[in-house]
């Protein structure tokens, strides 16, 4: 896979939002100079807690939020600031599946209408549309197709709705899917089915994924590589097994120790549970106010990126 060219290339991505800070206008940086690449058919799992910037990165990639700095290249095209027609054309490459299958479907439209819309929007006409709807529903396992087509979202279970959302994303034949916590709102017995479906799609269409999650176990199952985020910065990136077995960054270790079933026993290192500070102008490592290994340098300087192995990097002063 390593000789293949990158499908997605993100360099120094920075997203900032204005906030009101006692009347003064200042900014927070939910995504702070993040770089990564994804190859065709590869799944990059983005893991982090709330506030780590993982969803914002996903939204920037499908261009729901506008990047402030940095570049996004998809399929060798610079899509960082494209507009209108170009943007519509770009979304034929990239689609998104959202966390909440109850909120992401229109309650007054049938499943058929949900799928017809993107098909027509992106150029299909006539009887082709109907055949494509059937194919899509079959693809995601919503059979019998004829029955599903005429249903409304409220007639489906959460897992089935998420399948509709995936079918809708597939309607335009994308090469790349951003899946933002697609299973976190589903019941345990349903989750595995959705994960397996996504796995199958990756194989069948050579589909690449940015899989956004807070759950390391599912990241390990579905992701080829895992990228751990904290406070808008990348803490550690490695192949999934490697990251779970040999975590280098203190934050990754903390996350692993906190995950139930991790096998790492004993009390967690005593750290504050403060949310990361995202305000622009903050210095040093975002994890420094919770890190058990913190020293003065962490609060002053951005940590260097340490190359642990060819496929394993971590950003820490103390590795």
């Amino acid at each position: 896979m390593s000789e293949q060219r990158n499908l997605v290339e993100v360099k120094d991505l920075l997203v900032k939002f204005p906030i009101a800070d006692g009347g003064r206008r200042s900014f927070i940086r939910p995504v702070d100079h993040v770089s990564f690449a994804i190859k065709p058919g590869e799944v990059l799992a983005l893991v982090g807690e709330s506030g780590s910037g993982k969803s914002t990165i996903g939204k920037a990639l499908v261009r729901i939020v506008e990047p402030s700095e940095g570049t996004i290249h998809v399929n060798d095209q610079d899509v960082t600031h494209i507009k209108r027609r170009e943007l519509v054309a770009y979304r034929r490459y990239v689609q998104m599946v959202f966390q909440d299958p109850f909120g992401s479907l229109n309650p007054t439209r049938t499943i058929e209408q949900h799928l017809t819309f993107p098909l027509k929007k992106h150029g299909e006409r006539g009887t082709n549309v109907s055949t494509s709807v059937d194919e899509l529903l079959e693809r995601v396992g919503l059979t019998p197709v004829a029955e599903t087509r005429v249903k409304f979202p409220h007639e489906l279970s959460g897992g089935q709705r998420q399948r509709v959302a995936i079918a809708r994303a597939l309607a335009v034949n994308p090469k790349f899917l951003v899946a933002d916590e697609p299973i976190s709102m589903l019941d345990v017995s349903i989750r595995a089915g959705i994960l397996k479906l996504m796995n199958q799609l990756r194989e069948d269409f050579n589909l690449a994924f940015l899989y956004i999650t807070h759950d390391l176990a599912s990241a390990r199952y579905f992701g080829n590589r895992i990228m751990v985020l904290y406070g808008g910065k990348v803490m550690e990136t490695a192949n999934s097994d490697e990251l779970i077995r040999h975590p280098m960054h203190p934050y990754t270790r903390l996350l692993l120790a906190a995950t139930p079933g991790s096998g790492i026993r004993g009390a967690l290192p005593e750290t504050s549970n403060k949310a990361p500070n995202l305000v622009e102008g903050r210095k040093g490592c975002p994890f420094s106010d919770r890190c058990p290994l913190v020293t003065d340098i962490c609060r002053e300087q951005d940590p260097p990126i340490v190359q642990v192995s060819e496929t394993h990097t971590t950003a820490c002063h103390h590795v």
């Binding site: 807690e49 279970s157 349903i190 595995a192 089915g193 397996k196 120790a257 079933g261 009390a267 549970n273």
Partner: protein, 330 residues
Amino acid sequence: MSDRKPVLEIEDLSVAYQTANGLVNAVNDVNLKVYPEEIVGLVGESGSGKSTMAYAIMRLLKGDAFVTKGHIKVMGEDLYALSPKELRKFRWNKISMVFQSAMSALNPVMTVQTQIVDTLTSHRPEMSKAEAIKRAGELLDVVRIDRKHLNSYPHELSGGMRQRVVIAIAIALSPGFVIMDEPTTALDVVVQRSILDQIREIQQVEKFAVLFISHDFSLVAELASQVAIMYAGRIVELTKSGTLRLGERHHPYTEGLLRAIPHLTADEVVIEGIPGTPPNLVNLPSGCAFYPRCPLATDECRKARPNLYQTDNAIIECHLFKGDREVQHV
């Protein structure tokens, strides 16, 4: 264990909701006992009836929900026989509850101290205000929140701190039994872990029993000594938590759940969902409620509700365990 008196005794409990589509049978003939100082986990998917059961135990069912059958005894006392005044004294002194969403469990326009003091004085009227204020400070120490937050409002606290305050309120009057309904579900893993550690720590000091409700298997397995697995309003298995893994003898539903979760450290990562969806509680399937989704179902499963069988580590409601000793109650 059986020589001690249970703090919670549920006998043949059924709870139903009256809806436009007919009666929804949320809890069906459930039996469960929780003994002093024990942590029992209650696991199930959404709609399995676990929260309804908790509300029934607290006698908090409202509106269209009502107990159709059975008895609930907490420390030998039938909550449903108490007068409103007695009930008020019984709750929080003997039994209390940690609710799922800390944000909505706390009053947004009252400070932490006022809320704790309120709880203390309303459930224990003989307590003076000064005493209550003193106790509020102690309680924050117990859950390791700085006392300066006594004057904070809920929105000024982080999600984890809010949940700690809710826990502090639950243990304010040293009850013997606490129901915790998904207390950490909305929190990040690190915060979740530190709260669980804290619950365990406090539980060991204060010695109360816990019914811990969750949908997360691995979490409950770490915390509880026994785990009850609920499906379609029935407890289909009661098992020792240490044996919650594949290769042990379990109910097909439990096994399905175990197979459905990716494991963090397992060498082989194969997961398998349970086909189908949970049953409609208005029209429950005949026989075993799980048979339409069960890979091992036989004709018998469709016709007759299975009995309970005692294996080495569990009590299981399934026809497949006929070779084991039949028992009447979990």
